[in-house]
């Protein structure tokens, strides 16, 4: 059983994402191909919008992969190659949006919520008991006696 689990885990660990990058598209220079893969994993396919261009089977994604490789072969830096595609399709192609005025809420929103929550908790008297605690704290002698009797009865 342990062995089976070990085999399954090994196989799962070896399985990468299913890429659509065709052998015919790949560059012979492994360094450039590695750069292309890294960039391709950050670019959104415009057709299947939640896939990267490396994962997508859409013809447009294939054209973009080829174009990206041509830019790299032509001597573009990673940044220039990405800018080339962003100039055509807008920031929407970036799966990781840049940090700029338009995207401030996106990047800082979670921290804002955290701060607001912290402020809220600081003001919220969480430690103190509910206001009617005082009333329940003091029982009348009759109630004390009734409670004692009830407890005694339960014990038996």
């Amino acid at each position: 059983m342990t062995r089976l689990i070990a085999i399954v885990c090994t196989v799962l660990a070896l399985a990468g994402p299913a890429l659509a990058v065709l052998p015919s598209e790949q560059l012979s220079n492994p360094k450039l191909e590695a750069r292309a893969r890294k960039i391709g994993a950050e670019l959104r396919c415009l057709v299947c919008q939640n896939e990267t261009i490396d994962e997508s089977e859409a013809p447009l994604a294939g054209d973009l992969r080829v174009l990206l490789r041509q830019r790299l072969v032509a001597g573009d830096t990673d940044r220039q190659a990405i800018a080339y595609i962003v100039a055509r399709y807008g920031h929407f192609v970036l799966l990781k949006p840049p940090f700029e005025a338009d995207t401030l809420i996106l990047w800082l929103g979670p921290f804002l919520v955290l701060v607001l929550g912290g402020v809220g908790m600081a003001y919220m008297p969480l430690g103190k008991a509910a206001p009617d605690a005082k009333v329940t704290a003091s029982l009348t002698p009759e109630e004390e006696a009734a409670l004692a009797r009830r407890l005694e009865a339960d014990r038996v």
Binding site: L46, Q49, P59, L60, D63, R88, Y89, G120, Y123, M124
Partner: protein, 177 residues
């Protein structure tokens, strides 16, 4: 003060729900074009029909405002749009075509059967010009003014409603510019 503390998160949550409710209704395929207000990128494409002229970006300047329609014979929505383009042609609207990832034989057959609404057609078999235009899916139609600048991009087929409510008023305004 205490009430405020309790109500603030609820109010914030309500605002978020309203934001998501609006945001989730938006069509994610309607991407804003990066070309609005800018000149068309330069391109020079061969024709589909060897006897006809091809299409270059220079052809898009001068004259009046014109439409640049990205289509393909393989594109189902383009077939749906086609009768509208034919009707626009008969009204005298200048439409140029950009045939995307198509074979000449298929495009010729498609236009012979359905009619040819285009003044010129550029054959973008490799799909490179279409990428320069930032097109994600056919059909997309650019409204190009006299100076060859892109003024609007219609994503998806031009329906009679789209034409009368959006494109026709825009074309009329560009004509008088």
């Amino acid at each position: 003060m205490r009430r405020l503390i309790f109500l603030t998160p609820i109010a914030l949550f309500a605002i978020m729900v309203a934001g998501f409710a609006l945001g989730l209704r938006r069509d994610p395929s309607l991407l804003p074009s990066t070309l609005i207000g800018k000149p068309l990128p330069r391109f020079s494409l061969p024709p589909v029909d060897p006897k006809a002229p091809g299409l270059t970006s220079a052809d898009m300047t001068g004259g009046g405002p014109r439409l640049l329609n990205v289509f393909g014979s393989w594109c189902v929505s383009c077939r749906y749009e086609h009768p509208v383009l034919m009707a626009l042609k008969s009204q005298g609207v200048a439409i140029e075509g950009l045939d995307w990832r198509d074979t000449r034989a298929d495009a010729t057959r498609f236009l012979a059967a359905e009619g040819n609404p285009y003044e010129r057609i550029g054959d973008d078999e490799a799909g490179r010009t279409v990428i320069d235009l930032g097109v994600a899916a056919a059909p997309e139609t650019f409204v190009v003014d006299r100076q060859g600048r892109v003024r609007y991009k219609q994503v998806g087929p031009i329906t009679p409603e789209v034409w009368t409510s959006t494109l026709a008023p825009l074309m009329a305004r560009l004509k008088s510019e």
